[in-house]
Symmetry: D4
Subunit: 167 residues, 8 copies
């Protein structure tokens, strides 16, 4: 993540990675304030055995793009809604990458932070049957969650303040 203020969003990512038992490391490195650290991190990632990099940043969110420039690993970008423009700046800075250097952009904010982990799991599941089963089970769980909420709604036991999905 580009700044420690992004941590509140990345907790969603961490929770999901842990749910899928995917080992991960988390750190802070800014594309603009610590470019060497960021470049070094990206360049060494593959050798160090990392397989996917998830980058979260707000404003002129260059972090994912800068990392994608320095590695051939898949890079997933989470636009953080931290500037007065509300996240549309981070979204455009993350997604509008030029031909040749993709970033897999997620939704702005909390939903995107969660989905970065889910996408990572889907990617890693391509070569890990155990993870695949977990991903399939998670998909069923999502559908079951909807059925349960629908039943609770019917039964009149649905708490009004509950949040169904992360936004």
């Amino acid at each position: 993540m580009g700044s420690d203020s992004d941590l509140q969003f990345l907790e969603e990512t961490q929770k999901m990675l842990e749910k899928f038992d995917i080992p991960y490391e988390i750190t802070i490195s800014s594309a603009h304030r610590s470019p060497h650290r960021t470049g070094e991190y990206a360049r060494s990632a593959s050798e160090r055995g990392l397989e996917i990099i998830i980058a979260a940043a707000g404003g002129a969110a260059h972090l994912a793009g800068v990392i994608a420039a320095e590695t051939t690993l898949p890079v997933i970008g989470i636009p953080i809604p931290s500037s007065p423009l509300g996240g549309v700046d981070a979204l455009y800075s993350t997604v509008q990458m030029p031909g040749g250097v993709p970033v897999a952009a997620m939704a702005v904010g909390r939903a995107g932070a969660k989905n970065a982990a889910v996408l990572a799991a889907q990617i890693l599941a391509l070569k890990d049957p155990t993870l695949r089963e977990k991903v399939v089970a998670y998909k069923e769980e999502l559908a079951e969650g909807v059925w349960k909420k629908a039943d609770a709604l019917q039964a009149g036991t649905l708490g009004r303040g509950e949040k169904g999905e992360e936004r």
Copy 2:
């Protein structure tokens, strides 16, 4: 792709997949006009041996999301700038997925169409050392392309109309 009018964009995707020698199939299926075909396609994809699905659509671009709902394979979405709103509608419809069901959104239009193939190559390279070499070579090619253009600019031999990167 959701409509045959998207084909002009997907030619970028095809060119890159062929460059990486990644076998692929291409078809048309609309989230809205042929939902069964689309659902069937997504549900059977994994069994049929597909590993990644790339979905391109414009306007209320639901195609990638609808496919992501029906498969646990990674889904890459390309927003197509085909409506009067110029592609921002397709971008939001593609990227703003709810927690649990990610779509890896690419840039709007031609650059995104190219990058969908590059990201697919990066993902598949995680388990395919030969492809990995190609991905690494391509990255070097990108940098060399810049050096050559820079040299041509210095030498005064850069054609003015040439396009350096897909947009």
Copy 3:
């Protein structure tokens, strides 16, 4: 509705349907987390005697479009302002449907939730004279409400915090 967090908006819809004595059912089904449930719901709706479907969702709000793909009943879509982008994403995802598969989009948020019920009443009134009378009476009520507020303003008895119309 796509998520139980949309319920606070749909209470406006429920209130108006009850005002018009229109029988209705309400449930939760996500286009992305429970696609089979959603598809089944939409496909069986007509047979089960439903005449109109109202769908509310936020973010990449595919729910209304996905339902419209599976039924020939009129589908009314309510964009919910639940993502950091403030509802413009849900609006574009709801309204920008391709040729052949319409969604009747309402205003973002509370006003739209109320109006979904009013539009449903107007549609059903085309074949139900009793409902028609109620719809006409409601229209007069709206105008009278304005007159009363205007009179209260003149008389100095208008409470400052009162809300004239749902937004």
Copy 4:
């Protein structure tokens, strides 16, 4: 329609109404330049036997809203992309109606013009079994059209310039 320059879009509406054998009248009346004509049109519509009003306008597209204020018939609005702002102004002016007075907003431009007729057909089909059959047949036709295009793509006979769906 609010202006004769909207006619090029409304031809899509006309074609579809004729396809469904729905009798219609078409005229020009501006919310701003001919308010009495517009008001009179809307107020008399129900008595004259009209059942649905479709209104198309660009810029500060008030036409649909102004008509909805004067009738209890369902009003369908088509935002026309005729101003330098590209249609987002017409979309907001059409869809963001206050509580109590709905307009069923369609997509901006050609797709919306086509869909206005399809929605009208879906609404009228609620009380007209013959029309219902046509609407169901049309839905099948849409899906078949996708299959045919997909087959043509496979067979290499898909014309590049063809347009699959109206935008």
Copy 5:
């Protein structure tokens, strides 16, 4: 104003009209909920001796345009930020009027509400030398206000919470 919830903004307008000793009436009338009242108001305004109409509305803010359609008096429009889209919808609905029927659009919200009164004063001052003097004096007052704030800032006596101009 279109709704009593706009009153909190119009208090700025009232304060300024009173400052300039411009007699005024204030009322509530919705373009959509009470169209006859609004039309009648606009049509009779000139005869009743009104010289300028100020209209404030949010969302699909048709009020100013609908009034401008029915009168040849200058109409000033104030876009109110009351919908989830934050006022850009009201701005576009107010300002993007078609050729022939102008609305003088003010800034969104409080600043616009104040300025509607100032513009009205400037217009009426064209034929009222006394009012003109007040308008000129007000302009000097504005400049003096800035000098005073600047002096207070220099002297360290500027309260941090003070608001310099209405937004």
Copy 6:
């Protein structure tokens, strides 16, 4: 106008001023390139007998605001769509004036250019009965124009390429 490239838009303004027999002068002065000329123009306007100033500019369209800062005459602003951002920049720069210094903003582009003249006529008509008659006649003309177009549409004699209103 701020630049001679705005002239193509201001021809609409000129045509309407001439239609109403309103004497006018037209000149070029940039808020940024010739601030003294602009300031001098604005400050001397009232003494020289001008009653209204119409300012047209694109991009960071400061012209109307800068003139409004220097005069107490009513200032009408026309946002010109001349930058790559398509006119939304000029609109915001023209309309979002702070409390105390109004600009009467018109629609972006050609419709706004025409309406600036119409608004000027409406303002001047407040003290000029002859002009008032012309303004009233023009309003009738607008409505008649709609009737004629509607008749031509019915009669099948409406030319397809004709433009009904300036945009």
Copy 7:
């Protein structure tokens, strides 16, 4: 700054200027409410020994542009998010300057206010070796700050509420 309500943002600027020991003066002058004061300020700035002017304003943020029109000193503009449109209006008004009269636009809000001082330091450092050293040291400090946060994150001592960078 254009208004005393901008002071809360400019405190970031002041802090940084003080950090770099750059002497400065701060005052309030509005482009619209006190144009003479503003013009005089800008015209006399160079003679009075000022080398850079930093201008902060919200809404139709003309201040930086108006100053740039009157001086050949570099002008840095800070868009303030003070209107209901959230700062995008101030950004466009600040950055979209016509050819010949540049404003160096910073990010909207707090980050931009801080950066205005940093850019000023970078500019002045071109001719001041001591300042240059401070600027270089500050850059190292930024990177070290990131390392420290990253270490704290690893050690589990990172406070959750801390803010890493100004937004």
Copy 8:
């Protein structure tokens, strides 16, 4: 510049630098396709005697930010309107830099390309009296250009197709 397709815009920059007799070098280096080249360029710039870096890029325009991360020289960013989103993506990516690492953002496209050179001249003029004279002379030239256009307009000799200022 990030791509050779940006060259058509940078010709404006070159013309102005030559007008001011400012020596410059021009090259192509992409933030994403040739990050080492870009990083190296930025890190060595100061030692090689460069004083200002002007960076132009479109889409997710990271170039200026990436350079600013690697140098303490002032960096001027030109957003290029090369993607389907029309330049707003490049603007946000260029201007929304985090606290500590400023980029001086210019207008989108041609006007910005010209102004980058003018701002560079203004900055360098702070320590170069000869350049300062040129900058002052240029400012007078700008004003004279307006006067000449205004005279030509009055004399009826203004060519309609001429462009007054770069956009």
